[in-house]
Structure formats: structure tokens, C-alpha cells
Amino acid sequence: MTQFIPHTDSDREAMLDIIGLKRVDELFQDVPAAYRFPSLNLPPAVSEMEIVNEVQALASLNENTHELICFLGAGAYNHYIPAVVDSILRRGEFFTAYTPYQPEVSQGTLQAIFEYQSLIAALTGMEVCNASHYDGATAVAEAVNMAYAVFRGKRNKLVLSPALHPQYRQTVQTYIQNHPISLVTNDEGGLKEHNLLTDSEALIPLVDDQTMLVIVQYPDFFGRVYDYSMLAEAVHAAGALLAVAINPLALGLLKPPGDFGADIVMGEGQPLGIPLSFGGPYLGLFATRKEYVRKMSGRLVGETVDVHNQRGYVLTLTAREQHIRREKATSNICTNQGLIALASAVYMSALGKHGLRQVAELNYHKAHYAAEYLKKIPGYALWSDAPFFNEFVLICPEPAEELNRYLLDKGVIGGYVLGQDFPTLNHCVLIAVTEMNSRAEIDYLVELLAGWVDK
């Protein structure tokens, strides 16, 4: 790492000398005097010690997952993050660097992104992966942009599974509002419960020769795991593309979407070593097949050799991107949060193939243990009997919002209240169980829920 070298007074004098000035203030002469030091409406300055106390007092008002037991998921999950993730991230070479404008100068940054891309490609079973997007929702929306570009506007129907994350759906709607793309879904007149309960094959009749893309989630928003092979076949028979939004951790256990015919795989990378942090910064995963690489948005790092036959990393296929293709590019966003992508790469490398599988198995078993006992409490039931990963929907005897208030009083963050997106599921709560939940915590939840019925 470069040493920290401060500017001394003589350094400053030497610099001022060269540009012919006496004092630094002279650089600001063009700013009218009244605007040079405007008075700011701030309280009097306090000492460092006082401000640290004040900010800590504010911070301690927040509820957090270290002090409370957490069963909330719905797209962002409370997982263990090995210490190595943070210690690599906090190295100055990675931590302080903005994406360099001449990227090839920063071989370390490019190599880290290349490794990230390779890991995600292997995990998803896809051929290429971009340098990432902002979060799962924007990655899903970019899949729509990509499909539109693949068909050059000749197909414009987009089929969304009703079990796609409601926030992903909203982001997609924002992206397409000024495109001639029409949204097709089997939830006309509100997301009806019987439609939500139907499996993926219910989407097949919605696909026709105008369909460009079908988006499903795996596991879906309600935690269910479906085999999408039949859907993939039907989508391809209609000449359309299939995009699968994933929870990457679930792929430690489940068949990768590339193996059942996904053309685009995208998702929220937060479960891979990224803290909850109030919803961001997160990581948008995006992978596809090689034949569509020129229609993929985002940056792409490639490995090559230099004139001396030494390995090197470059930004590749940049002619696809908006700074060259302008309005013809697939997307006008090529930015990512490289540090977050790096965090997930460190996480995946630290765990390895078997470690990732182990974490996924822990999630699976703990969630199934919880479901097994929760459904036995009189007044409660599981909403679906479909296979699930680490999340499931529990039907409660009273509105789920009330249950959550009760749980919070007892030191437990309850599951996601589904009524906020799906009015018919007002009594339903989406409960996530991860490796962070001990058996004692799960037993405590069961006890609390049983007690709530008797109250």
C-alpha cells in the first residue's frame, strides 16, 4: 500500500510558486466574498467525545439483529458473515477505490471482479455473468431490458409470476413505464390467493408468440421451490426467454437454473456475506448464456494475455455499453458496487463449494424444524405444502401484524407481514429461518406463538 505522505507547508509553497500565487485563498477569488464562508445554521461545535456519545445514543435507539431474535427475510436475510470478508474489504486498496476511469490500470480490482463473475457463473450454471448491479430488484428489471433488446422490440409481452417479490415487480413496472412493453400476469383484479397458490405451470397458457420474457423466482417469494423444467420447455417452444430470480444461497442445495433451461439468472446477492444494513448497499446478480452477451447490460471483465504472454484482466465487450452505444445500449446503467461484489466473492471463496452446501443445509433443516412445530400449534397452519428452502408462509389465527407487535415486545422480530402486498393474505406471515437461529430460538418462537393463541 502507498505510504501516507502529508503536504507540508513547504510543499504548498512550492505548488503555489509554480502557479504564481502567494496564498491558497487567492484560488477562491472568483467566488464573491459573501459566498466564501456562508453562515450555516448549525449548533455550536462540540468535542469529538461529545459527538461520539450523541451519535451512539441515536444508534442505540435502533432495533437490531444482534439484540433481537430475527425471523424476518423476504429477500434480505440474517446470515453469518465470516470475519475474513470484512478484513479483505477493509484493505485500503479495495476500500477506498472508486472504479478507475482507466480500469486496466487497476488489475487487482479487475481480477477481483473476474473471480466474482466466475463464481456466480459456476453457482448459477450460466456461461457469463456481469460485474453486478445495484440490487436484486434492479437486476430483475435489467433482465426485462435485455429481453427487449434481444427481440429488438419485435416481441413486447412480459409474463411475471405472481410469486415474484412484490418489490422486484414494482421496480420492473418503473423500468417499463415508458417502453411499449405490456405486462401479462394471472393476477388480474388483484393478486388472488388461488392464483398465488398455483404452481409455475399455470404460467404456460400466458405465453404466446409475442412473449419476450417470463420471470419466475427460485425459491419464489413465498419460499417455495418448484422445478421449472416444464415451464422452460414451454417458454422456449414459444421462442421466448426464461429469467429466473434466485436466492444464491439456495443454490448451494438446489439445481442451478442453467441446468433447467434458464436464459437469464438474476437475483439478490445479499445472502452471500453482505450485512442487512437497512436494505443496502446490496448486490444485483446477473448471468446469462453466451449467445446473449452483447445484449447484456453492465460491465464485463475478461481475462487475456499481454504482449509478453502474461495473464491480465480487461474490461471486455465495452462496445455494448452506453458510453459507446448511447441510446442504443441495452441499459443506461453500467455502474455497480464493486466492493459488495467483492464481499460476496470473498464469502464464496471462504466457504467453498462444500461450505456453501453446509450453510444451505443448515437453513433448510432449521426452517423445516420450525415449520414442523409451528404448524402443530392449534390455530396455525402452513399455507402451502410445496417444498421450501429456508422460508415458509404460516397462517395465523389473527392478523399477522398484531402477531408481530406481540413478538417484538418479547424480543423477537417476526416474519414478513404478507397483508401489506397481498390483502387476501392478511393472516399470513412469511417466516425465514437461517443458520443464525438456534434451536432454542426456534423453540422460543413456537412457545410464543402457542401463548399468543391462549392470550
Binding site: A319, R320, I324
Partner: protein, 129 residues
């Protein structure tokens, strides 16, 4: 520079070879030389209709991705699939094996607005200086 006499040219360096009602379209020697090494060609599909001046293809070189425009309006009746596999033909044989599409010419009168070889040669010379 190679500028065949039997073709018509556009200001964007496309050429068209007219054969009765149909026309064969590609990019000129001047175009391939300015683009440098071509690494990808994206072509339309048979049956696509384009008006004069609309983009029908994209040629990506090591320098840039460039749109290719229709010299005249028409319907695509044949696409040179070989080109989507062997992009380098654009550099090697721009007037021969690197033809891009064959079209049914919709408005033959639009051909009158194009340059002949002599005019195009002058146009190229002008830009070389």
C-alpha cells in the same frame, strides 16, 4: 481504395447492388477500413421491413459499434448467415462474401438519391484529407 463501378453508395458508406426489383446491401471498403477489425455483426431477419435511413444492422469493431443504415426502403428477403459466424469477411471482402442482406426494393425512385462510383470516390477522397 476499391470502389466497384456497378454499385450505388450512401453517405454512410453502405453500398447497394441493384438486380431488377431486388438489391444486395453491404458496407464499402472505405467503411471497413475506418472500422478496422470487425469482431461482431448483428443482422436482421428475413421479412423485416425498413425505411430508407433506418438501422438494419450493427457492426462491432475493436474500435466501436456502428449502425448500418438502409440505402433505400425495402423488405429483407435474405440474410447472409455466414457473416454472423465469420465477421472478418467484412474486412476481407466487403463487396463480395460480406454482403449483408438482400431486399425487395419498395421505392425504386429512392435509388436516384444515391451516389454512383465516381461521386462516391470523390466523397471518400474528400474525407481522407
Amino acid at each position: 481504395m476499391n470502389i466497384p463501378k456497378d454499385l450505388k453508395y450512401t453517405q454512410n458508406d453502405e453500398w447497394i447492388k441493384v438486380e431488377g426489383q431486388t438489391g444486395l446491401i453491404g458496407v464499402s471498403d472505405f467503411a471497413q477500413d475506418s472500422l478496422s477489425d470487425v469482431v461482431y455483426v448483428e443482422l436482421p431477419e428475413s421479412g423485416d421491413m425498413f425505411n430508407k435511413g433506418e438501422t438494419f444492422a450493427v457492426v462491432e469493431s475493436v474500435k466501436a459499434a456502428s449502425d448500418i443504415y438502409m440505402p433505400v426502403s425495402g423488405e429483407v428477403i435474405e440474410v447472409n448467415e455466414v457473416l454472423t459466424q465469420q465477421y472478418e469477411l467484412v474486412n476481407k471482402d466487403p463487396y463480395g462474401k460480406a454482403w449483408m442482406i438482400k431486399i425487395n426494393i419498395k421505392e425504386p425512385s429512392e435509388l436516384d438519391g444515391l451516389m454512383d462510383a465516381a461521386a462516391y470516390e470523390a466523397y471518400c477522397m474528400e474525407r481522407q484529407h
